[in-house]
């Protein structure tokens, strides 16, 4: 990457650098053709409009005053480890359109490392010349860059040598970076948090948990409602409550619209009463009533864990009609293992697996092909019974019925693991080492 052009000037060899760390040159003297110091390099303006952040201007501090110049005719040299900045003819400009200042808005801030799926701090920035333009190509978040900033690079190197640890390459390529800082409304990044939306909701949830509340709120509100809903389900209960209480009402309604009612009920149990009541009032009455019912179940009963979005179809339709209905509903993966068959009074009559439907003759009636030998569980039974039953019969999910034998939900093994076993397991094996 680094091309070296020796430049002989007064008998001293200076290397022109085409790739360097920002911290090597920040706050260093800027000299003109005659070698006079015209101030110190204070900051650089970049634009993120076309790919990697492109440097379009630099800021010089001279006698306590700031001068903004166009990023032209400026060269960076190294002379025996000493950094030298030379310009020939600075042109003062007023920057109309830029995304942010490198030192002020990016250095020392938190960013998301998309590849490593975590929050890191910007210790340094790698800048390189690409096709005649200087661009930020990578972010450094490692210990070595911290040492460099503190002027103690050597000490950190020795320390790593001493402890025989390998100095890991901590450069994060800009493509894998998502900047969190939106400077102010005028300088907003063109598309906020675009890269984050490519992450898996579970990874995104981990990152959000690490963020401070303001970032978290802004990032969350920028996600589209489907992703926001999926992510919210994965977030820690305490932080879920926090987000629900703090995001805008319109966003909250959108997100809740996209969430299954049982998840909403779980979340509302964590938030304070006033907010829960407000949220319930803003929901459609039918959904709100269902959520209220779910919230009344005691802990560790089947009702408190069950999922109320499930597939139940009338006993009198055909396999062909079933497939068409499924196509229309496009249900979530976790509820599509079994199709439950009910009569006019919503009483459970039979069950079919997705496979049964697919292999059945199109004109066959569900009544004739369904499996009538159903194992179901009462909504007020304990989840432990549900676990016993599903493991005994190897079911991925079980139908839940109320006192009148009406199908009121299904209980999914994965939910049991998530809500019962994981918390228990975490309490017991709080892992260290």
């Amino acid at each position: 990457m680094q091309v070296i052009i020796p430049l002989l000037e007064g008998g001293i060899i200076m290397e022109k650098l085409f790739s360097f760390f920002l911290s090597k040159f920040l706050y260093k003297k800027v000299r003109n053709e005659d070698g006079e110091c015209i101030g110190k390099l204070w900051d650089m303006y970049v634009t993120t409009e076309d790919g990697l952040p492109r440097i379009i201007g630099y800021q010089i501090k001279k006698n306590g005053e700031f001068i903004n110049c166009e990023f032209k005719n400026i060269n960076f040299y190294k002379e025996n480890e000493k950094a030298i900045i030379k310009i020939h003819g600075e042109r003062e400009i007023i920057l109309q359109k830029y995304s942010y200042l490198l030192s002020k808005h990016l250095l020392d801030r938190q960013i998301v490392d998309i590849n490593g799926k975590k929050l890191v701090r910007v210790n340094d920035l790698r800048i390189a010349e690409i096709a005649g333009e200087y661009r930020v190509i990578a972010v450094d978040s490692g210990a070595l860059s911290l040492g460099r900033r503190l002027g103690a690079e050597k000490i950190v190197e020795y320390f790593f040598k001493f402890t025989k640890k390998k100095l890991e390459d901590t450069l994060i390529v800009w493509d894998n970076v998502e900047s969190l800082e939106m400077v102010n409304n005028n300088l907003r990044l063109s598309v906020p948090y675009k890269k984050l939306s490519k992450l898996h909701p579970a990874d995104l949830a981990d990152i959000l948990e690490d963020m401070d509340i303001n970032y978290r709120k802004r990032v969350f509100e920028s996600l589209d409602e489907n992703l926001a809903a999926d992510t919210l389900e994965e977030i820690d209960a305490e932080i879920q409550a926090d987000l629900l209480e703090n995001i805008s009402e319109s966003k909250r309604d959108e997100v809740l619209d996209n969430m299954p009612n049982d998840e909403i009920a779980d979340m509302l149990e964590e938030v304070d009463e006033e907010t829960a009541e407000r949220i319930l009032l803003s929901m459609e009455k039918e959904d709100a009533d269902e959520v209220r019912n779910l919230m009344q179940y005691e802990d560790e009963t089947v009702g408190s864990v069950m999922n109320t979005d499930f597939i139940s179809l009338n006993i009198n339709i055909t396999a062909q009609e079933t497939i068409e209905l499924l196509r229309e509903m496009n249900p979530d993966d976790e509820v599509s293992h079994y199709i439950y068959i009910v009569d006019e009074e919503e009483r459970i009559k039979g069950v079919l697996s997705l496979k049964d439907i697919v292999v059945a003759k199109p004109e066959a009636n569900l009544r004739d092909i369904m499996n009538e030998d159903i194992v179901c569980i009462k909504h007020k039974d304990s989840v432990h019974e549900a676990i016993e039953l599903s493991t005994k019969y190897n079911f991925l999910s079980l139908p839940v019925v109320d006192e009148e034998e009406k199908l009121c939900g299904i209980i999914i093994m994965n939910d049991i693991i998530e809500e019962i076993f994981i918390p228990m397991w975490r309490r017991r094996f709080r892992k260290i080492v």
Binding site: S141, I213, I432, V433
Partner: protein, 408 residues
């Protein structure tokens, strides 16, 4: 109904301020306030009032920064002042906190010595206990147990009323400044500042409010929480001083050992007074010995972007656990030095914290007045006057102490 809801909301928010203020009444606090009363009677109460006002304003600044920015103090220092200043601030914090931690280890040793348990036995065991508790155990439960132990300090409130002090005299002492011009007086005064406005408290308070995720709408409650906490901290200090002033000062006894400090509770508990002191001191010191290394490790990792949190494995967050362990070990080793005076160590570490405290406060004042950070929520001129006044007062006190050391 509306009132009840507000009360519930308030109960949810109130907490960080009161807990932080209570954490200030650790070994350093109890010992310093005891010495204030025992050696100088009521003559330092005026300082307590000024420190109290300063503390209220400073803690409120922390709370406001937490609510407005959603960021911890070391986070803000790093982002606004860059990596070098952050390094400097963290170094100061590390030294001050290590001092306070050593002081609290001394508190553990002193409290157990009252039960005739040798420090050579108690300190290694307790060090191991803290490490295991925070890495493998259920810390939040243990925290509650320690907290209950500190309730033994309520005995100071009862004793203060039992000894029937001349309340008129107490009040005039609070409002009328007076000073003895000897180096010891100012040194103790600095210690009092250090133990009341401890640097670590500012970091701890701000982080715990951030963690609670309190929004600006609910800020009024948080403000109340901070003010109640401060008032409680100062009243506790006042009552400890009254107890020791009425007993030890009148009898002319200086505090050199923890037994001496226990005499202040004699009017209440007679010859068993040492049990009250020992139990309270043990709980408070143990609490502080967990909280201080933990909050230091959090603050440093926050500033430099290292992985942090007790839920991590040690390999995942080596710096975090490293700082924590190092502070525990250094503190334990210092206390195990033979023939070291525990009371002197406690007092000295508080004075060190007092001297270092303005550095943290200067960062805070600059941050809280920065419109890019705080928007419309910068300090009012009265808040600035009090905050800056507190800083200047501490610096002057430090200068007096240093100067008098050179002269004598």
């Amino acid at each position: 109904m509306k009132g009840k809801k507000n009360l519930l909301l308030m109960m949810g928010i109130i907490g960080p301020g009161i807990i932080t203020a209570n954490a200030g009444n650790d070994a350093g606090g109890i010992t310093t306030y005891s010495v204030v009363g025992a050696h100088y009677g009521y003559s330092m109460l005026w300082g307590m009032l000024i420190i109290g006002v300063g503390l209220a304003v400073i803690q409120e600044m922390n709370a406001r920064m937490a609510v407005v920015t959603g960021k911890g103090l070391s986070d803000l220092i790093r982002e606004r002042f860059g990596v070098r200043w952050a390094f400097f601030a963290m170094l100061v914090l590390l030294i001050a906190n290590l001092g306070v931690c050593i002081g609290d280890f001394a508190g553990i040793a002193a409290s157990l010595e009252l039960f005739n348990i040798s420090k050579y036995f108690s300190i290694p065991v307790i060090t191991l206990l803290i490490w295991v508790l925070l890495t493998k155990g259920d810390y939040s439960k243990a925290e509650k147990v320690f907290f209950v132990l500190t309730l033994a300090f309520i005995s100071y409130f009862i004793t203060a009323i039992l000894v029937k002090p001349d309340w008129g005299h107490v009040i005039t002492s609070i409002v009328r400044p007076q000073a003895k011009f000897d180096a010891g007086y100012f040194l103790v005064l600095i210690g009092m500042v250090g133990t009341t406005i401890t640097p670590y408290m500012q970091f701890y308070l701000q982080s715990s409010i951030v963690d609670k995720g309190i929004s600006i709408k609910e800020y009024a409650y948080e403000k109340l929480d901070v003010y109640i906490g401060t008032a409680f901290a100062i009243i506790t200090a006042l009552f400890i001083t009254i107890c020791t002033a009425e007993t030890l000062f009148k009898a002319g006894i200086n505090i050199t050992y923890a037994q001496d400090a226990a005499l202040a509770l004699k009017p209440l508990a007679g010859n068993n007074s040492f049990i009250l002191l020992a139990v309270g001191l043990f709980g408070a010191s143990l609490l502080a010995c967990c909280v201080i290394p933990l909050s230091t490790a959090y603050a440093v990792c926050e500033a430099f972007g290292f992985e942090s949190g007790v839920d991590n494995k040690i390999k995942e967050a080596p710096v975090f656990f490293g700082i924590f362990l190092l502070m525990l070990i250094i503190s334990a080793v210092v206390i195990l030095v033979p023939n070291i005076s525990l009371i002197k160590i406690i007092l000295f570490t508080q004075q060190l914290a007092g001297i270092l405290c303005p550095i943290v406060l200067i960062f805070m004042v600059k941050l809280v007045n920065d419109e890019e950070v705080m928007g419309a929520h910068t300090n009012t001129s009265l808040q600035n006057f009090i905050a800056k006044g507190t800083i200047i007062l501490i610096v002057i006190l430090t200068c007096i102490v240093l100067a008098s050391n050179f002269i004598s």
